[in-house]
């Protein structure tokens, strides 16, 4: 392999965010005209890696990175995405960066429009040159031809099916004159099967033109069919850099999740000391859809047993966070949700709360807490608003806050959950992430809920605090018999905590498994390689 045939080379790349290493000593090379599949679980470091390559500002703002990136023979030190674009790196993001009210042509040539001069522009400068629409249409048509898709150059993007929008994005990148490498982040996630095939064929064509491609996908079958080589990231480390020849989907899933057997052991142990889960179904969700930006839920049905901890996992963007936000009325939703035989009306947080449901939001600082208020206020707020607790009546009529009861309650939870603070009057914004999370839990516990929903309970908190939070959840479940629905991106955490785990893929439940199930199985469920098609009952 000659040195001048290499498009991208990473040597010893590492990255830390606040002393937490996200990437450690990443090395790999990508040849010209090669397609590389990049796979890894949530938080494996894929996004961070792409941000480094693309010169995103966040990287420099958080102290830069270690190691070196070489692009097309030169050391790459991009300080902004614009630099990377100029050097010839094109990126297609997961979320569309298209302007819906523009036609396909206008979008493809956005800010790269072909213009021709006129009298006025000669006086007032280039920005007043008129657009050369025929020439622009020609360029767009050429890009479509390269991709092998048959799309109109004058259609409004807002009126196109989602799958076609993806092609517009890619057409935009390959229309750039000096593009040498493309990064495609989950481009097939929104495509139908036949559209995905067209895209894969197009990728091969682009690669034949000498353009290298980094292809990020959770659909492992696509990786094996289209890529020349595969790089698997796990916990910030490249675990495999290999040719895809002869590699099976099952093997990739194994590399992706393959934890040490200790996790399996913990899961098994957890299973033995299982809480008081009954046999009847207390909570039922049927054909739920939720319109939450970036976390769309299409059609989800599941049942939760009384007293169990039911986990929902899946990759980011597949809708696992949409489920709780839809049930609690925070995002527009439809379908049937019933608790204890009574239907919970959707799109109304108060009726969900009145129905005995409590929610610990993944958006701790935005939805979960009143940051500028003291701890006791935060803990008692929902209970006061929803259930009228912590109120006393002046002259038997006017209800006012019962500060004493609030303080007592707050002190109780501070002790129980070992919240580190100066006292119940400390402002919540002064606490660390882990302690804030405990306040969120306490706030939910104060409602004495019969059903508790926790979303991403350990997001952004350190390892020690994580265990405490999970332990608090398990204890609450055992001691009060509260049924818990827990949503988390971390499979390991779900396996440690839950009695059953559902995996969501592309807005639908791919399957429900016991926590001691082989990790590879979960990996395959997440990537949609396995899908239980019968409505789950067990």
């Amino acid at each position: 392999m000659a040195e001048d045939n290499i498009m991208l080379k990473l040597t010893g790349v590492g990255k830390k965010f606040d002393d937490v290493a996200v990437l450690k000593d990443v090395n790999f090379t990508l040849e010209k005209g090669q397609i590389m599949g990049l796979v890894g679980e949530n938080g494996a470091g894929k996004s961070t890696l792409m941000r480094i390559i693309f010169g995103m500002n966040v990287i420099a703002e958080t102290g830069g990175y270690d190691g070196e990136v070489f692009f097309d023979g030169n050391k790459a030190a991009f300080t902004s995405p614009q630099d990377a674009l100029k050097a010839g790196i094109g990126m297609v993001h997961q979320e569309f960066s298209l302007i819906p009210g523009f036609t396909t042509t206008e979008n493809i040539l956005l800010n790269m429009e072909k213009t021709k001069p006129n009298v006025i522009s000669k006086v007032f400068g280039k920005t007043l040159e008129t657009l050369d629409m025929p020439k622009m249409r020609e360029r767009a048509a050429h890009a479509f031809q390269t991709l092998g898709v048959n799309l109109s150059t004058d259609e409004l993007v807002s009126e196109m099916p989602v799958g076609h929008k993806q092609f517009i994005e890619i057409a935009r990148e390959i229309d750039r004159e000096h593009v040498k490498m493309l990064v495609l982040d989950e481009p097939t996630a929104v495509l139908t099967e036949s559209e995905a095939e067209i895209l894969l064929a197009a990728m091969r064509k682009i690669a034949e033109m000498g353009i290298s491609i980094i292809f990020i996908s959770h659909r492992l079958a696509e990786i094996t069919s289209v890529c020349d080589k595969i790089v698997v990231l796990r916990d910030g480390v490249v675990v495999v850099e290999n040719s895809t020849a002869g590699v099976s989907v099952h093997q990739i899933a194994d590399w992706m999740v393959g934890r040490e057997s200790s996790a399996d052991a913990v899961a098994a142990k957890r299973h033995e000391e299982k809480g008081p889960s009954g046999s009847d179904f207390v909570f039922e969700v049927k054909n739920l859809w939720v319109d939450m930006p970036g976390e769309t839920v299409r059609d989800v049905s599941f049942k939760v047993r009384r007293g169990e901890i039911f986990g929902i996992g899946g990759l980011a963007g597949h809708g696992k966070l949409g489920v709780p936000n839809g049930i609690m009325g925070l995002s527009p939703a439809g379908g049937i949700v019933s608790f204890d035989g009574k239907e919970v009306s959707l799109n109304s947080p108060i009726s969900a709360l009145n129905g005995g449901l409590a929610f610990v939001s993944e958006d701790r600082r935005g939805v979960g807490l009143l940051l500028d208020e003291p701890i006791d206020w935060n803990i008692c707020f929902n209970a006061m608003q929803v259930q009228g607790k912590f109120l006393k009546k002046v002259l038997g009529v006017v209800p006012i806050r019962d500060e004493k009861a609030m303080s007592a309650c707050a002190r109780q939870y501070i002790e129980e959950l070992s919240i580190k603070c100066t006292g119940e009057k400390q402002l919540v914004k002064q606490l660390s992430g882990g302690n804030q999370q405990k306040i969120c839990l306490a706030k939910a516990f104060a409602l004495s809920p019969s059903f508790l929903i926790v979303a991403e309970p350990t997001r952004g908190i350190d390892v020690g605090a994580k265990q405490l939070v999970l332990e608090a959840l398990r204890r609450y479940n055992r001691e009060n018999g509260t049924t818990i629905l827990m949503i988390s991106s971390e499979l390991e955490e779900l396996r440690q905590t839950c009695d059953r785990i559902a995996i969501i893929c592309e807005g639908k439940i791919a399957g429900v498994r016991a926590p001691e199930t082989n990790a590879v199985d979960f990996g395959l469920l997440m990537s949609g390689e396995i899908r239980d098609d019968v409505e789950e009952t067990a």
Binding site: S97, L110, T127, E129, T130, L131, P332
Partner: protein, 357 residues
Amino acid sequence: MNKRMRYILVNSAVPLLFILISAVAIPISNFSGMYLLSEIITRLTRNSFMVLSLLLPVMAGMGINFGLILGAMAGQIGLIFVTEWGILGAGGLTVAAIVGTPIAILFGWFAGNVLNRAKGREMITSMIFGLFMSGIYQFFLLYLCGSIIPFSRPNLILSRGYGVRNAIDLEVMGGFDNLLKVWVNGIAFPVGTFIIIGVLCVFTWWFRKTKLGQNMRAVGLDLDVSGSSGIPVEKTRMQAVIISTVLSCYGQIIYLQNVGSLNTYNGADQAALFAAAALLVGGATVSRATVVNGIVGTALFHLNFIVMPVAGKNLTGQAMLGEYFRMFVSYGIVTTALILHAWSRKKNTDSARAERK
């Protein structure tokens, strides 16, 4: 087909509503067709330039630029100075425009800076900023003119010795209107003014096809996407506001040369409101407005303006209702149009959601 029809109906709900109201009110008012036609022509001459000056900020996604009273004030300052200098006719108006332009650019630059710090709240911000700048304008005319800035004509200055009078007769009256006046069947067509308005229409249409116009459309449709594709978002918005302010300066000059007298201290106050109402009546929304919306809206809105008070008088027998009807109708239109806009947007997201499922 059915869906397309509904889309058109939803989008032209406001003009249809107004045509309906006019259809009921015209017979009650007893006005003759000829009279209404000549009135509408007068109103088009007066107001359409001002209405059209609102188009670019809408295109750039900044909603209705209520800050165009800044431009109107600049135009008024220009007119006061040409009256002081005694320049007459179309030449006087041109000089007023030349004096007003740099002031309008400066005001527009101020407004653009403020609005770039208030993304998503441009309409209310521009309204309040306009009221604030109105205070500075009044300070300038009340205390600086005639004291620091010498004025030679006593009929412009208050009897106390400084400060501009609150009503001024404009000697440049009809400067553009009389350039090429054509009489047809007893109705006067001020062709000179119409040519100026026509030039603005052509300019606006042409501008959409330029690179800068394309940038403005992109910025108006999606700030983040435009920004990430390298379009200078803030600069583009600034340019939209400045052009709009300068155009509204010319708009106010055209308006006042037709009216003939200047209400110095609150002549500009309602300019933005009436222009906005007219544009919205024409079927524009705060996110989409065309030249046709502007012209149709001006005609329809002023038709109602003429007809409604008289119709109201004929119905109730009270003559006092005129001004009340004007204010009620125009604020009502803006409110209705804003509510209808929110409603049609909700309809669109609902149908988009239904499609995705």
